[in-house]
């Protein structure tokens, strides 16, 4: 699925649409250059879930954690990951069997240390054009993608 995004509010809307599409657990890879809107998408997701605190990029902290009633959301940014083993120190394994939604930016820096992705969002930003490519990477990802189409998050924009 490919979507054109007019502005930041539409990136937020995609995040909100994802909240309406994903079950209580899942792994989302976020791909795109700096400033492409990866954290904005996560912010849109959390705002839709009723979280009204600060949502900032985990560039320096590697991970930010948010607690919702029915799940936890872990937002990783692996851009500054020096060694994939750092993920072990963060206890990533402890989270795998739980109800957790993972957003992982820059997954390529830790490939085999990460849980298997269900869906990948690739954010493109060339000149004035912003675009989003959605690729399902598992059966669950296919369900998420089909529901995202159904929810049609940009419809009400």
């Amino acid at each position: 699925m490919r979507i054109d995004l007019k502005d930041e509010s539409q990136t937020m809307a995609i995040g909100a649409g994802l909240f309406k599409s994903i079950p209580r657990n899942g792994v989302i890879f976020l791909v795109g250059d700096l400033g492409a809107g990866k954290t904005t998408l996560v912010r849109g997701f959390l705002r839709a879930a009723g979280y009204d605190g600060i949502v900032k990029s985990p560039t320096y902290t590697l991970m930010e954690e948010y607690t919702l009633n029915n799940t936890r959301v872990l937002h990783f940014d692996l851009y500054r990951l020096a060694d994939p083993e750092e993920l072990e120190w963060l206890g990533i394994r402890d989270y795998l069997c739980d109800d957790v939604i993972f957003f992982i930016e820059w997954p390529k820096f830790a490939d085999e240390f990460l849980p298997c992705p269900d869906i990948q969002f690739t954010l493109e930003h060339t000149g004035h054009h912003r675009g989003l490519k959605v690729a399902a990477l598992s059966d669950k990802g296919k369900i998420i993608e089909s529901r995202l189409k159904l929810v049609n998050p940009l419809d009400k924009q």
Partner: protein, 497 residues
């Protein structure tokens, strides 16, 4: 959809009323556009999966199908069982051609796969295998009668295992009270959201083991409702490690007041429980006649004979927490002790006869914890025990409102109510706990935690859940013959994790 993946989710913490779970269902189908049949399909598949996992050798299944969506779930299980080459019989309470909506589609799919149904009559009863209860769902709010009641009675006479879909038929989803007749299941798979009635009152008794299947609905569906109550877990509170240079004054001083002639054991059990969960010091104020004998086998407890309010007031100067009630009696001595307590402002745990006395006085206070069993709760509210048990969450809430502080309504699925917080329900515990002294231990546990400066709410919740958890450990040797004193060693383990 992946078939190798488990369709059963971990049990979530939050609980909802039936109407809220219906609203989630409605939101998923009508707002997010998820086909209702997909949800039904997932519900049936999850149920079938857990059935095969728990009873892999049972190849003969009888499905009781009602006229609504619960019956629809049953038809999905029937079709999956047939595809797996099991012997399937369906007893239909309503002619399937009269089914509507998704339930009708589920039946049609079963029929196209070659399935047949029998109309239910009271002469048919399954002889072997396993029963699936798909009679009535969570919408029920009046007594079950007629053919449905007959079917429930036949299911309950059956010797083999029973798996209930969403809720045992006849159980009230909000209160856990059986509506005249209810199915006694060995396991219940519940869908989309946990219904609070499964966990309190008769809920667990009728449900058996409880499994949860979210049906893969989007997170937004579950987050669309604010929970009505929540399960309390033993991991909700972790007590901090003690400092190397700690002294006994750091961990409070519980004063247990009670132990009228003939009931000394009650105060003694409460005192020991307070010590076993880590209170720095524990004293007992009791009748002069037996005060010196009470701590012979547990000299760590300080024991004082106290005959009048003045003496008690002086003794309580050194305490940081009061626990009053175990074996207090309702004579003039007990009344004088309780009235003295009203004169100062220490946190108090009020139990047993102190509750019976309180029921006559109707005081309000913010810093106490009331721990009634249903009988005491009935007296506090001037209701019958049955009225209390018919809606335990409402009863606990009413006591909290009327008397202030925190109310712990004991009994299967203890309910903890605190102002401005959703009620907590304790899912642990066992019938072995129905013996004398068990409540006295709870009083001591909560007081001992208060002494270590847990807030009232945390002490009430954590105390209730570790008390039940300790009883579950102790009951591994058998529920029958379990003694309140058997909890002590386990309590100690639970506060040192």
């Amino acid at each position: 959809m992946a078939t190798d993946r488990t369709l059963i989710d971990a049990l979530p913490k939050f609980l909802y009323r039936a109407e809220q779970v219906r609203a989630m269902d409605d939101y998923a189908i009508n707002t997010l556009g998820i086909p209702g049949l997909d949800l039904m399909q997932n519900a049936g598949a999850a149920s079938f999966q857990i059935m095969r996992k728990q009873w892999p050798k049972l190849n003969h299944i009888s499905i009781f199908a009602g006229s609504g969506n619960n019956g629809g779930d049953g038809y999905i299980v029937a079709r999956l069982a047939m595809e797996a080459e099991l012997t399937v019989r369906v007893f239909a309470l309503a002619p399937p051609e009269k089914l509507r909506g998704d339930a009708r589609l589920a039946w049609q799919a079963f029929q196209s796969a070659g399935g047949a149904t029998d109309a239910f009559t009271i002469n048919q009863s399954p002889e072997n295998g396993l029963i699936i209860d798909g009679l009535l769902g969570t919408g029920l709010d009046r007594e079950v009668s007629g053919r449905y009641a007959d079917a429930i009675k036949i299911i309950n006479k059956f010797n083999g295992p029973v798996l209930a879909l969403d809720i045992p038929s006849g159980l009230h989803a909000d209160t856990g009270f059986p509506l005249g007749n209810a199915v006694r299941a060995d396991r219940t798979v519940t869908f989309i959201g946990l219904k609070q009635g499964l966990f309190t009152g008769y809920g667990q008794e009728y449900c058996g083991n409880i499994s949860f299947a979210s049906l893969g609905v989007p997170l937004a569906v579950q987050e669309s409702q604010q929970p009505s109550s929540e399960l309390i877990g033993v991991d909700d509170v972790v007590l901090p490690p003690r400092n190397q240079n700690a002294h006994k004054g750091n961990f409070g001083h519980v004063l247990v007041i009670g132990g009228e002639q003939g009931y000394q054991g009650a105060a003694r059990l409460a005192a020991e429980a307070a010590m076993r969960v880590g209170s720095g010091l524990v004293s007992i104020a009791t009748r002069q006649a037996h005060a010196s004998a009470m701590n012979l086998t547990r000299p760590e407890i300080m024991c004082h004979g106290v005959e009048c309010g003045g003496e008690l007031l002086e003794l309580s100067q050194r305490a940081t927490v009061i626990a009053i009630g175990p074996g207090l009696g309702q004579s003039s001595w007990g009344r004088e002790m309780l009235n003295t307590i009203f004169q100062h402002n220490l946190p108090v745990v009020i139990d047993a006869d102190a509750l019976n006395l309180l029921a006559r006085q109707r005081c309000f206070r913010d810093n106490w914890i009331l721990t009634p069993h249903p009988g005491e709760a009935a007296r506090l509210l001037e209701k019958t025990v049955e009225e209390v048990q018919k809606d335990r969450i409402a009863a606990a809430t009413a006591i909290q409102k009327q008397y202030g502080g925190i109310c712990v309504l004991k009994g299967s699925g203890s309910v903890v109510c605190e102002k401005e917080t959703i009620p907590g329900i304790c899912p642990l515990g066992n019938p072995g706990m129905a013996t004398g002294g068990m409540g006295d231990v709870l009083t001591g546990v909560i007081a001992g935690l208060l002494a270590q400066r847990l807030t009232l709410g945390r002490a009430a919740r954590f105390g209730t859940v570790i008390h039940s958890a300790a009883a579950d450990f102790a009951a591994k040797a058998g529920e029958r013959g379990l003694l309140a004193g058997d909890l002590m060693a386990h309590l100690r383990k639970l506060v040192n994790r």
